[in-house]
């Protein structure tokens, strides 16, 4: 079996050049290092199979990330079949926005604080540390949807189609994720005695 493989391309080389990027991408979605590693492994093996069909229209990294995304979505779909969104109460009451973030009258329990200028926020190392910690502590099911929307930049209809959920379900989850993330960030970064502010 011949394969139109240049001398410079090989799975070992892919691993060396792109392994880190693939791993990070997977880790952001899956949180568990072993599952992330598994996703990278499946990606490299699938890439090996389909290298002959790679037409070179995109960069190798883009192509590999594309395969990885398929793997991650497959895994997410499997996990949703076991525990569908919206079928069971997803989050403990303290994470439900209605309980935690607003009074019965619909007012903020803890009104958002002033975060200062966006440019300054993004320049602070402490901001990023807090954001990463908060992404890690948000319920995983919410985080995964949030990452699909905000990092993968998938549209509503794409996500709903891939995961067989309703738009309303998706928007509710995203709302919860944003409320939770914002609240956590404020507690860790702003209230956490951030010395840079």
């Amino acid at each position: 079996m011949s394969r139109a493989r240049q001398d410079s391309e090989s799975p070992e080389r892919w691993l060396e050049e792109h392994g880190g990027a693939l791993y990070r991408y997977a880790l952001l979605q899956m949180r568990d290092p072993h599952r992330a590693e598994e996703a990278v492994q499946e990606t490299l093996l699938a890439a090996l199979e389909s290298w002959g069909r790679f037409a070179g229209r995109s960069s190798v990294r883009t192509w590999l990330i594309g395969i990885l995304k398929h793997k991650i979505l497959d895994e997410l779909r499997r996990s949703l079949r076991e525990q569908p969104y919206g079928d069971v109460p997803d989050d403990p009451p303290e994470d439900d926005p209605a309980e935690a973030h607003f009074t019965e009258a619909g007012r903020w329990r803890a009104p958002p604080a002033d975060w200062g200028k966006p440019e300054q926020a993004l320049a602070q190392h402490q901001f990023w540390i807090a954001l990463e910690q908060c992404l890690d502590t948000l319920p995983l099911r919410l985080t995964r949807l949030f990452i699909l929307r905000e990092v993968w930049e998938m549209q509503t209809d794409e996500i709903c189609k891939e995961l067989a959920i309703t738009p309303t379900n998706l928007w509710t989850m995203l709302h919860r994720a944003r409320l939770g993330l914002r609240n956590c960030l404020e507690r860790r970064w702003i209230d956490g005695g951030n010395p840079e502010r």
Partner: protein, 91 residues
Amino acid sequence: MLTCKETSHLVSEALDRRLSLHERVGMRLHLWMCAHCRRFETQLQLLRRALREDTRERPEPELGYADLPPEARKRLLATIAARTQPPSDSG
């Protein structure tokens, strides 16, 4: 007049879909009068920007930057090697 809770829903959904005129007017009216919700809107926009910029623009991203652990790398190399070995003599 919308509550803060209702407005927060719309502010969030505006990031995911086009609001109806009715929804948009209701939201904007509340935001005009409520500094808390204005901050909320600004902060959600910051979150979106942070995640997108970090992913798109930084060769060494701030978020989740964990290089492949050496043990994992070894395992992956071993898996690749096993898969790319020419078939051994079969009977």
